[in-house]
């Protein structure tokens, strides 16, 4: 017999947001495997993708547990439709050239790491535990992408132009990560998640320092592109899911 479990809606949302960001970014980054500019980079990027898949499993596993309807991490990853995904618009943006991929990663890491640091002291022990593990990985990701952004910004004229182009294109998507909605506000009040406004301010200072060293100029005043966290995505996500979920959808119930 099943007992009716009352889902903690805000907690469920948080786990989905964290998990879906990791999943969709891993899906994007994983596509580089075998196509990166040099072997050492190919290997490094695969490590990032693997870390993110590991985190996906933890967050979506927790989401399923919070929901209490018996859905596994795989069910949530492969059998939800686009409107039910809670990732930010940033991570679903196309790989583009390698500059776009690196800039997308850097903007994400710049937020992801302080977010996880905040979640380490979550009032929910399960969240704190996941954050504890993921934070170390995210710190390495951020160091790595910060270093590459600085080097390529301050590299050749071409590398600078490409990184600047990527920053112009992607910066408008970065703001959404630290933009709080009612759910974030509730989670902050309940001490489950950190105050996003404070994190956003820290991220902004950090970005300023890094871009100065990289000789890049961010379009600081650009309008924020948002909606992913609430399930209003760009057209990209539909294609990502069509590819990612295809086998599970084509053979319902099959075990792989």
């Amino acid at each position: 017999m099943t007992t009716a479990v009352k889902t903690d809606a805000a907690l469920f949302e948080l786990a989905l947001r964290m998990g879906d960001n990791a999943l969709i970014l891993a899906q994007r980054v994983g596509a580089w495997c075998g196509h990166a500019p040099i072997l050492e980079e190919d290997i490094a990027l695969a490590n990032v993708a693997l870390d993110l898949i590991g985190q996906t499993k933890m967050w979506l596993g927790l989401a399923g547990e919070i929901e209490g309807k018996g859905r596994s991490a795989d069910d949530l990853a492969f059998l939800r439709d686009a409107r039910a995904f809670r990732n930010s618009l940033l991570v679903e943006q196309p790989n583009g050239d390698f500059a776009m991929t690196l800039m997308r990663q850097f903007l994400f890491d710049a937020f992801h790491h302080p977010m996880l640091v905040g979640l380490k002291s979550s009032a929910d022990a399960r969240i704190a535990e996941i954050a504890e593990k993921a934070e170390k990985e995210a710190r390495y990701h951020r160091e790595r992408s910060e270093d590459l952004v600085i080097r390529l910004g301050d590299g050749t004229e071409e590398s600078r132009a490409r990184m600047q182009g990527a920053l112009d294109a992607l910066y408008p998507f970065a703001g959404e990560l630290a933009l709080a909605d009612a759910i974030d506000a509730e989670l902050a009040t309940r001490k489950i998640a950190p105050d996003l406004a404070a994190i956003g301010a820290r991220v902004c200072d950090y970005l300023k320092t890094v871009f100065a060293e990289a000789t890049l100029n961010a379009p600081w005043d650009a309008a924020v592109r948002k909606g992913g966290k609430q399930g209003a995505h760009s057209e990209e996500l539909g294609y990502i899911l069509a590819e990612m979920q295809w086998l599970q959808r084509a053979y319902p119930g099959a075990k792989w």
Partner: protein, 94 residues
């Protein structure tokens, strides 16, 4: 090709207390990136606690042709090995 990243030799300390051991090589534009690459390439399976990298061109090596003059003489100096000396059992462990 002039812009090829230089080659680095990688040394990893597998566990605390052990010496660094040569594990292989890789390419990187400078030492900092070589260390990062070494972490990603050579410690994928938890193999290390510390990494050294040395530019391959900076390594000075003994010439292979000199192997005999360099290493054979020490073969003859068996008095450097403890087993050269016969100590009676009665003396106990030494």
């Amino acid at each position: 090709m002039k812009n090829e990243w230089p080659l680095w030799e990688v040394f990893i300390r597998g566990q605390h207390g052990l010496a660094h051991r040569h594990v292989g090589s890789l390419h990187a534009p400078d030492a900092e990136m070589a260390i990062r690459h070494a972490r990603d390439v050579y410690t994928r399976r938890n193999e290390g606690v510390s990494i050294w990298v040395v530019k391959a061109s900076d390594i000075a090596a003994s010439a292979p042709g000199e192997k005999e003059p360099l290493f054979d003489p020490s073969n003859a100096k068996i008095y450097r090995h403890p087993t050269f000396y016969d100590i009676p059992d009665e003396v106990g462990h030494m």
